[in-house]
């Protein structure tokens, strides 16, 4: 408001890779990497229902894939580098686009309805921040720090899992995070499909939205089952 009007100019030498749509493509592709990761991660978590030995064997096997061609934890580190790279791309594009959006409307409406918008679509940015904060805690909890909220041993993956989710507030953190992840995927999957140009008709758009909703439901419920089962006493040491 009340700034001097800019003299309009036309862009010269436009590059496709420098556009906002290129940033959106970065969001979409890195998002699909995460989608593949969470589906595989969820599969591994559900091994907890098969008991102590099956779960720990799975965890150990992840570290042995490709041996002796690859060193111990070799494949795991290749995947980790890919995930870290995707995280950098996803967060970088999100920050740039968020700042652009903030600058695109510096004078807010006195009254604004969000007609036509789903709640999930409006939660993408703060939901993403929630997931990022959860990721920090989750890695401290199980991977980097190995924090046992009950103060016990941390060298046995299955027992650490049971100790973690036996505490109600610890389970609550995970459930809230999974709700945020579910909402993020609900909009994110179809939005990525749209960004990649796969939804050129009303039928394809509807299909992408349905697929997004179903996968979001599978992921958020699938991940929540293990913590809830521990809290309910179904999964025990």
């Amino acid at each position: 408001m009340s700034t001097q009007l800019k003299t309009p100019t036309l862009v010269k030498g436009a590059r496709a890779s420098r556009t906002t749509i290129a940033l959106k493509l970065g969001m979409a592709l890195s998002g699909f990497v995460f989608l593949g990761f969470v589906l595989a991660h969820m599969y591994g978590n559900l091994k907890a229902f098969a008991g102590h030995d099956a779960f720990n064997e799975y965890a150990e096997h992840l570290r042995e894939i490709g041996e002796p061609m690859l060193p111990h934890e070799g494949l795991l580190w290749i995947l980790r580098v890919g995930l870290i790279g995707s995280l950098v791309v996803h967060v970088y594009c999100a920050v740039v686009l968020w700042r652009r959006a903030a600058r695109a409307r510096t004078t807010k409406y006195v009254m604004k309805k969000q007609t036509g918008a789903t709640r999930a679509s409006l939660m993408m940015r703060w939901g993403g921040v929630t997931i990022l904060l959860f990721l920090v805690w989750h890695l401290l909890n199980f991977t980097i720090g190995k924090v046992n909220v009950q103060g016990g041993a941390t060298n046995d993956p299955y027992n650490l899992l049971v100790d973690t989710f036996d505490v109600w507030w610890s389970t609550a953190i995970y459930i809230v995070a999974m709700l945020a992840l579910g909402a993020h995927l609900h909009h994110g999957i179809w939005s990525a499909a749209q960004t990649l140009g796969w939804t050129g008709t009303a039928a394809k758009r509807q299909r992408a939205k349905t697929v997004g909703f179903v996968i979001a439901l599978i992921v958020s419920v699938g991940f929540s089952l293990v913590p809830l089962a521990v809290l309910a006493g179904i999964i025990t040491k």
Binding site: L5, V11, K24, A104, T106, Y109, G116, G197
Partner: protein
């Protein structure tokens, strides 16, 4: 009908504005929204006050000049332009909040009037086909499949009113660009400049200060011409193809 109107007043592009409240009595439900504002302006004129500036031209929903944020919805509660909105869509005694489109790429010139020159520059950057002028070619010399022709025509109904930008939480003009890119990209005449078109239009869009699209869909809900979200998918696809072609 008796109405309370809260309207944005701003005397010039660089001056500060504020919401002002007006009472308007005996409004006919058959009036269009703009006629209701005309009545208010007549009363302001009689009182010696400055009338409220707003854009309008054809008043039949085809020119794209009018456009107001009415109670938080672009063009108000119906799927139509502001000029085709009637007072029967409101209730007696209602308070109606009226604001200009809010987008830094559409600076307010005065009251409810914004400068949509940014759209013209996006069109100038690529929203056209280059053809030889002179005698019109035989219409049937370039065949166009019926489905493509219908779809091109449907998205060509975009009147460039800016409601998509006004409604978008990101202030993005992707629906506008998507409509133009889809319209021209479906037709044989649009092919030679297809890659350049999308790259130049999107670059101009970004340069004007519009935000990036996050596929929320508020644009298509506000669009008086019901341009579907498909066109943004097509826009993205065309840009992706242009990247592949080295643009």
């Amino acid at each position: 009908m008796n109405l309370t109107l809260k309207i944005w007043r701003q005397s010039g592009p660089t001056s500060d504005g504020a919401m002002h409240t007006y009472q308007l009595a005996d409004v006919s439900p058959d009036m269009s929204f703009l006629e209701m504002l005309d009545v208010l302006n007549e009363q302001l004129n009689e009182k010696g006050e400055e009338p409220i500036a707003f854009d309008s031209d054809c008043r039949e929903g085809i020119c794209g000049q009018c456009g107001l944020m009415i109670n938080g919805d672009a063009h108000g509660p119906e799927v139509t332009t502001t000029c085709q909105l009637h007072m029967r869509s409101f209730t007696d005694g209602e308070t109606i909040t009226i604001e200009p489109w809010r987008s830094d790429a559409f600076p307010v010139l005065r009251d409810l009037v914004v400068d949509r020159g940014a759209f013209d520059r996006i069109i100038q950057a690529g929203g056209f086909v280059s053809v030889n002028t002179g005698s019109a070619p035989e219409a049937h010399s370039v065949p166009v499949p019926k489905d493509d022709a219908d779809r091109a025509f449907n998205v060509a109904t975009c009147i460039g009113c800016g409601a998509c930008v006004a409604a978008c939480p990101n202030g993005s003009a992707s629906l506008f660009m998507g409509a133009k890119v889809t319209h021209l990209g479906l037709l044989p005449q649009g092919q030679p400049e297809r890659d350049e078109r999308v790259v130049n239009m999107v670059a101009q869009h970004d340069h004007e200060g519009f935000g990036g699209c996050t596929n929320i869909g508020a644009c298509t809900a506000a669009c008086p011409k019901e341009i579907p979200l498909d066109v943004i998918s097509q826009l993205n696809k065309d840009l992706r193809t242009a990247i592949k072609h080295g643009h």
